[in-house]
Symmetry: C2
Subunit: 405 residues, 2 copies
């Protein structure tokens, strides 16, 4: 008999708790597994030996369903990057101590590129000290920027929120008789996946978003202003989707930072709003979708939530079968009917790398997404959870805040 540990890391998504459910449920099916420990605040909980027994926390099927519809990380999260163990072994020793003391045979780490670096380093380190603890990474990120995998859990729900909200913003924008420009700033760090996903509205006959700017294309302020003028000649209410990660000309980004403070690194929408106001002088507004795009479980994608659970379960099976230093990935067989298989990849092929929007997804003008790319996005936003509500709003599963030190 041995125990399992699972932890959640990095920025919140709508699907991380569903992956936790996948690990937990699958572990209960394995006769040789005893306890499933949840590590509080990612790898920090392993370092500090701060673990909770998930069987004392997830008691009923109702708890399972609530967890699947609860955004963010029920066990807390961290932004902790392990040092190289050849230079600093201290923290590795603490991790090994906890794993030994708790009789843990496998550790599942749900996270993004940085967390996969932890998976890689721990699996390498454990090999050097002959510690038989399997380490498996379960991908998650709304940015969809992980290599090897077709897509990442969390992205589909974020894309669904972005598309539905852009649709609503389009309705909101067209009401007045004067021309206007609406700039919607979307997350995704250096990758344009989430911003590009807003173009699924085109499959519904919408002309919006009329312009889409992603970090994969060099951004030119002059071209941006010309693009907006051109769209204004065709549409009364021009809708622009812009990635937080586009590179504006030197000095501008730092100017934004200076004016808006440290938090406003992502204030590119507000900056472009001021550019349009000054250069074109029309009615203009900017909207930052902010954390809502990563935590709006009330409009999550059932496909995403189900896949997140499946990939968590597959990760547990992989560990039980002896895999380590691996990350679970999706390989897409077909867009329609949508078919994916779950496979494994080496953590070192995913850790610290980013996957960008393919050039063929972007139109020749570099300011929108091709119709041919929509088949990639559409399957990921399908389906709705049958949400459990209380007082008219979706109910959540939450640990008491005292548990999350």
């Amino acid at each position: 008999m041995f125990n399992i540990a699972v932890a959640q890391s990095g920025g919140p998504t709508c699907a991380i708790n569903s992956s936790l459910v996948g690990v937990f449920r699958e572990a209960l099916k394995v006769p040789s597994v005893d306890a499933v420990f949840g590590s509080i605040n990612g790898i920090e909980g392993i370092i500090d030996n701060h673990l909770v027994d998930l069987r004392t926390m997830i008691l009923t099927n109702n708890d399972i369903e609530l967890l699947k519809q609860t955004p963010s990380t029920v066990l807390g999260s961290c932004r902790y990057k392990l040092p190289d163990w050849r230079e600093d072994e201290e923290v590795y020793k603490k991790i090994a101590d906890t794993l030994r003391q708790r009789n843990i045979g496998a550790f599942l780490y749900i996270g993004g590129n940085d967390s996969m670096d932890t998976v890689k380093k721990l699996s390498e380190y454990f090999a050097t000290i002959d510690l038989d603890v399997k380490i498996i990474g379960i991908p998650k990120t709304i940015d969809n920027d992980l290599c090897v995998t077709d897509h990442t859990p969390g992205f589909g729900s974020a894309a669904k929120y972005v598309a539905a909200t852009m649709h609503e913003i389009t309705r909101d924008s067209i009401v007045y008789s004067i021309p206007s420009v609406t700039i919607v700033e979307i997350m995704g760090r250096h990758a344009g996946w989430l911003t590009a996903s807003s173009a699924v509205l085109h499959a519904m006959g919408e002309t919006a978003p009329h312009l889409v700017y992603v970090p994969e294309v060099d951004f030119s302020l002059e071209k941006f202003i010309a693009d907006v003028r051109q769209q204004m000649s065709k549409h009364k209410a021009v809708i622009v989707a812009v990635s937080e990660g586009i590179e504006v000309p030197e000095g501008v980004q730092s100017g934004v930072v200076d004016n808006f403070g440290h938090k406003y690194l992502s204030g590119i929408g507000k900056y472009l709003e001021s550019v349009i106001r000054n250069e074109i002088g029309c009615k203009v507004r900017s909207i930052e979708l902010n954390v809502m795009q990563r935590c709006s479980s009330h409009i999550c994608s059932k496909t995403d939530i189900d896949e997140a659970e499946a990939v968590g379960a597959a990760g547990l099976r992989c560990a039980i079968e002896g895999g380590t230093g691996k990350v679970m990935v999706f390989r897409r067989i077909e867009d329609a009917p949508y078919t994916v298989v779950i496979e494994t990849a080496d953590a070192e092929d995913i850790a610290n790398r980013e996957k960008f929007l393919p050039a063929e997804y972007i139109n020749s003008a570099g300011n929108n997404i091709r119709e041919s790319a929509l088949g990639y996005f559409l399957p990921l936003i399908q389906g709705d959870l049958n949400l459990i509500t209380e007082n008219g709003i979706p109910k959540h599963f939450a640990l008491h805040e005292s548990v999350l030190k």
Copy 2:
């Protein structure tokens, strides 16, 4: 036989199109009513004789259902305030011309305080020229600041979005191990109704929002900082709900405007974020719910949408029965079981006035909402529409943009 005209005015909500449905459906039941004309861009469509025959636009029951789940104003909107006819009769003559030419016997105007001013002025003017056109106001506003009526259509859906989103933001905020403050800026102009509605989370056992600031209470920066410090001693992730309309000390608001440009009048959240960063130095972020709080039909309140339709239908009946210069209002009989009746009020009692949050809803410290007030809010956010979706996201009813000149 005579015709009906209906128009939509002011800021978008999730329920305005449902009131249009109410007027349209009820009009079809009246044998003496022929066409139902929709006026494009509120009263501007009447002035310019820019009307569409709704029977050529709303063709099926499916269209009706789509309209009810479509946010904003399908006929466009305006921010047009009529002059006093004793000083400037020109535009009144144009309105009378359109109404006569189109053989319109009743005009239903869906809007907020300003639109009720139009209802009042037109009914008075028509009496002076003996024009027998009934004018009825159908209330709408997410601000919930209309006098006489218990609440306004549009408010319930906005409150539901705010509550569900605050719930999700609460989950998002608690993940890291370091203390943090999250400031959520909520609409409502000079009234705190929508901001106060976020406190319904308390009925679900949430401690968030830990602080709620509404315009009805004088705002003190010193007290705000002390309040935040006090809450930080109790909670790792402090959640603050703040109305866009709170009055900050002289100079501050203008400072925000100067730094952020004209659009940032509502940038109070960002301002308070900088105050907390400078004064307390902890992790802090601000989130503006922006137009999403008025157009997120994907999480609308069925109670709100149904009531919006009912009040539109009641307005049409009122006009047919000879009412004019009236506004349809709700009178609440009971919170639980929730019971309201629809009545009429005089437009002059509603036009250009605002209704504020009652003092007894606010705690003695002036920084949160009393539990006893939640019974007012809770019934308004109940129920979900069975949304028609396409490609995984809610479908909308939209006129071709060429119709909305």
